[in-house]
């Protein structure tokens, strides 16, 4: 592989020390607080006032390919990810067909490599067809070229305790982790769509009580303790879940958790106008829950921010509220939300942002130890040059039409967010420069569109 070398001049590493960073042949070749000499053919990126982070890693992305290429493809989702500062995304298994075989996982993986914009790491289904009954071919997916390590029936809960127990035990053989969509279906069924409380009562919308999440999280941490396995809680949304996590971690139970950007900022009262843009699963919660999630993210009880980027074709959101699709876009706005909520308020520094959006997600997903294919690594000599350059002072009014995604279900439209991604580098190659996507010289091979 030959790349044009890149010299990033005067960036603030994790918002602290200012340095020049030279990227050669996909790795960080030099980091210098004094001026670093660059080869004459190097691309110069002036980064005065900008913050350099390790490339972001999203534990929770829906790319919709195969099956719903009208809503998103691997390529368009990858482009949205790069614009958001990501260099790796985990593609959830609830496509059509479901990613529940080695072949399906390898196909998604290959589509990602063909697009070449971010590393697309498939998540394998826990159960065949996401039906919650029989284990999918977890071992074959792990052994496949895709090297699957994260398994999830996301969109559905692995509700059967016996199935969950077996999955947790089984993935120990290859260092896997089960990412649980915690939703006890007898307490929050398929139509549940509004946080259960005064608003759901007034609006007459089926309630989705926080306890339906909390009982599954509580059960699963006990199963993780019993089996000695690792469990990950997807999109934690309530203060009660935070309490359970804090308790479990204090006992040394191997549990990790993610929170979405929308659960860090948006609240349930947005449902008052029945706008399906704000319909998401788990639902937006009251301000008390949002506050508990922010505290938990800052103190490490919640390990990571994950987008749950869920593109939907316009017509799938133009039904009555209970009939409309769940989910909202998130890849392009995640960093801005975290900066607005956590950094601007002084609750987190940029080093913490790197921890919750790159280092920890990469560790949880098993991407940190993959050598030159690794993610979430420190900005240091010899490490893969997966990097994100952020303007911390930018103020951006979100425009849903300014997006690389094929979908427009953007709950942030019209809001002002702090900080903007200026550049993203995947193994030394810029995928975004000056905030704009770089045309990657990739082929159309492997993409259906």
């Amino acid at each position: 592989m030959t790349h044009q070398p890149v010299i990033v001049r005067g960036a603030s590493l994790l918002g602290e020390q200012t340095a020049d960073v030279l990227l050669v042949d996909g790795v960080v070749a030099e980091v210098g607080t004094a001026r670093v000499d660059a080869p004459s053919d190097a691309r110069v990126v002036e980064a005065d006032g900008l913050v350099l982070l390790p490339g972001l890693v999203d534990l929770h992305t829906h790319l919709r390919e195969p099956g719903r290429e009208d809503a998103e493809t691997v390529r368009t989702g990858s482009a949205a990810a790069a614009r958001g500062g990501y260099t790796a995304v985990l593609a959830m298994a609830n496509t059509s067909p479901v990613t529940d075989t080695a072949e399906a996982a390898e196909r998604v993986h290959a589509l990602g490599r063909a697009a070449g914009i971010v590393d697309v790491q498939p998540v394998g289904a826990v159960t065949k067809g996401l039906r919650g009954e029989e284990l999918a071919e977890l071992g074959l997916m792990a052994r496949s070229r895709a090297g699957v390590r994260v398994f999830s029936d996301d969109g559905k809960c692995v509700a059967d305790a016996r199935v969950m127990r077996r999955a947790l035990e089984y993935v120990k053989a290859f260092g896997g982790v089960v990412s649980q969509h915690a939703q006890e279906p007898t307490l929050a069924g398929a139509t549940a769509c509004c946080h259960e409380g005064e608003l759901s009562g007034r609006l007459g919308l089926p309630g989705w009580p926080g306890v339906a999440e909390e009982v599954i999280v509580a059960r699963d941490v006990m199963l993780a303790r019993h089996t000695g396995s690792r469990v990950h809680v997807a999109h934690a949304s309530t203060a009660g879940t935070v309490e359970v996590l804090r308790w479990a971690k204090s006992l040394g139970i191997q549990v990790t958790a993610e929170v979405t950007p929308h659960h860090l900022l948006l609240t349930t009262d947005l449902l008052g106008g029945y706008d399906p843009t704000f319909k998401v699963n788990p639902p937006l919660r009251p301000a008390e829950d949002v506050e508990a999630l922010r505290d938990a993210l800052a103190d490490g009880t919640i390990d990571a921010v994950a987008t749950d980027h869920a593109p939907h074709a316009r017509h799938d959101k133009e039904h009555a509220f209970v009939d409309a699709a769940f989910g909202m876009l998130g890849l392009e706005t995640a960093l801005g939300v975290v900066a607005s909520v956590m950094v601007s308020s002084g609750r987190m520094g940029w080093g913490d942002v790197a921890r919750v959006m790159s280092t920890r997600p990469a560790e949880i997903a098993g991407l940190a130890g993959r050598g030159d294919q690794g993610h979430g690594r420190p900005v240091a000599v010899g490490e893969p040059a997966n990097l994100t350059l952020v303007d911390p002072a930018a103020s951006v009014v979100v425009d849903r039409d300014d997006s690389a995604s094929l979908s427009r279900n953007n709950p942030w439209h019209g809001r002002t967010l702090t900080a903007a991604v200026r550049a993203t580098f995947l193994r030394g190659t810029p995928t975004v420069l000056d905030g704009q996507l770089v045309e990657i010289g990739a082929t159309t091979e492997g993409s259906l569109t």
Binding site: E198, L205, Y274, E318
Partner: protein, 316 residues
């Protein structure tokens, strides 16, 4: 008045008074031999019913016809989602035929509000899921006002204690009634077992100014009017209450409770009734029952609503 009638929240006490005054005039028309008024001649009203309804649909249809509007009924069972078409596409198709008003019943809460953002026509919510049914609340309040009035002149509901009993969780009639009745100054108490009270009703009732109780026998002697709500038997399978017998003993308007109520206190029910479950036959057929007056009031109130939305360019 607003362009649409989507929620009982849309109506101020003055709006309600205006609607009632017109309804009283319309009510007189019902007793004429020739019932047609020319007020909405040339206007087109679509009754778009995605959910079964006999009384509400025919009530709106008669109301439109007596005002000389062209009324068309479109009924479709199930959600448009199940047919693969979005709700927006369905209603835009119908609205593009050049209609002036869409009277809409839908099984999903909020559907009428969503539709009002997509079409130019005035939208009247004729029941949306478990959310609201504003014309039902108007006709209930109107029927009660007539009852408390004098010879056709409407009485005031100020300070009257109205007790609503039944499946509050799934009742759009309850949600609209509590808004309209409190707006008219009535004192409202809602009674149900805890499982049939909506989530968050404690904070809701205290901010909205109504009372809640689990004990019908404690509340009933203080009632100036009782409104029994329909309880669907299929709720038992959802674990909301154990048996219909147990429900009736706790929350039905039984013959014994009718005696406690005395002969003067009016009894309402929005229908359809489950005789023997939430209301005993003796209570439904008692002299103080307003149930048939509610139906007749329904036509007058809906005539008034359509008239004010369509004839007056939205101004009362």
């Amino acid at each position: 008045m607003n362009k649409h009638l989507l929620s009982s929240e849309d109506l101020t006490a003055d709006d309600i008074a205006t609607l009632f005054a017109t309804a009283a005039e319309m009510h007189d028309v019902q007793r004429r031999e020739v019932k047609k008024l020319p007020a909405l001649r040339g206007r087109t009203i679509i009754n778009l019913f995605f959910e079964d309804s006999t009384r509400t649909r025919s009530s709106f249809e008669i109301a439109g016809k007596w005002l000389s509007a062209d009324t068309i009924n479109i009924t479709g069972k199930g959600s448009s989602a199940s047919k693969g078409e979005s709700l927006r596409d369905t209603v835009l198709t119908i609205a593009s035929m050049g209609v002036d008003a869409v009277v809409m019943r839908h099984g999903a809460s909020g559907a009428a509000q969503q539709v009002s953002q997509w079409v130019d026509a005035a939208v009247v919510n004729a029941g949306d899921g478990t959310h609201e049914h504003p014309t039902q609340a108007l006709l209930d309040a109107y029927a009660l006002s007539r009852h408390f009035g004098d010879g056709g002149r409407l009485g005031s509901l100020e300070g009257r204690h109205v007790v609503l009993v039944g499946d509050l969780t799934h009742s759009r009639v309850f949600r609209s009634n509590v808004i309209t009745l409190t707006r008219l100054g009535a004192q409202v108490t809602v009674v149900a077992p805890p499982t049939l009270m909506p989530a968050g009703i404690a904070s809701w009732s205290s901010s909205a100014g109504f009372a809640t109780s689990y004990d019908l026998d404690e509340v009933l002697p203080k009632a100036d009017a009782v409104m029994m709500l329909r309880v669907q038997k299929e709720r038992m399978s959802g674990g909301f209450f154990p048996t219909s017998r147990e429900y009736t003993v706790g929350y039905g308007l039984t013959r014994d409770r009718l005696r406690v109520l005395g002969p003067e206190v009016p009894i309402c029910h929005p229908g359809p009734m489950n005789r023997g479950l939430e209301i005993a036959a003796d209570a439904a057929d008692a002299a103080q029952s307003l149930i048939l007056e509610q139906v007749s009031a329904g036509v007058a109130v809906r005539m008034s609503v359509l008239y004010h939305l369509l004839a007056g360019e939205g101004t009362a």
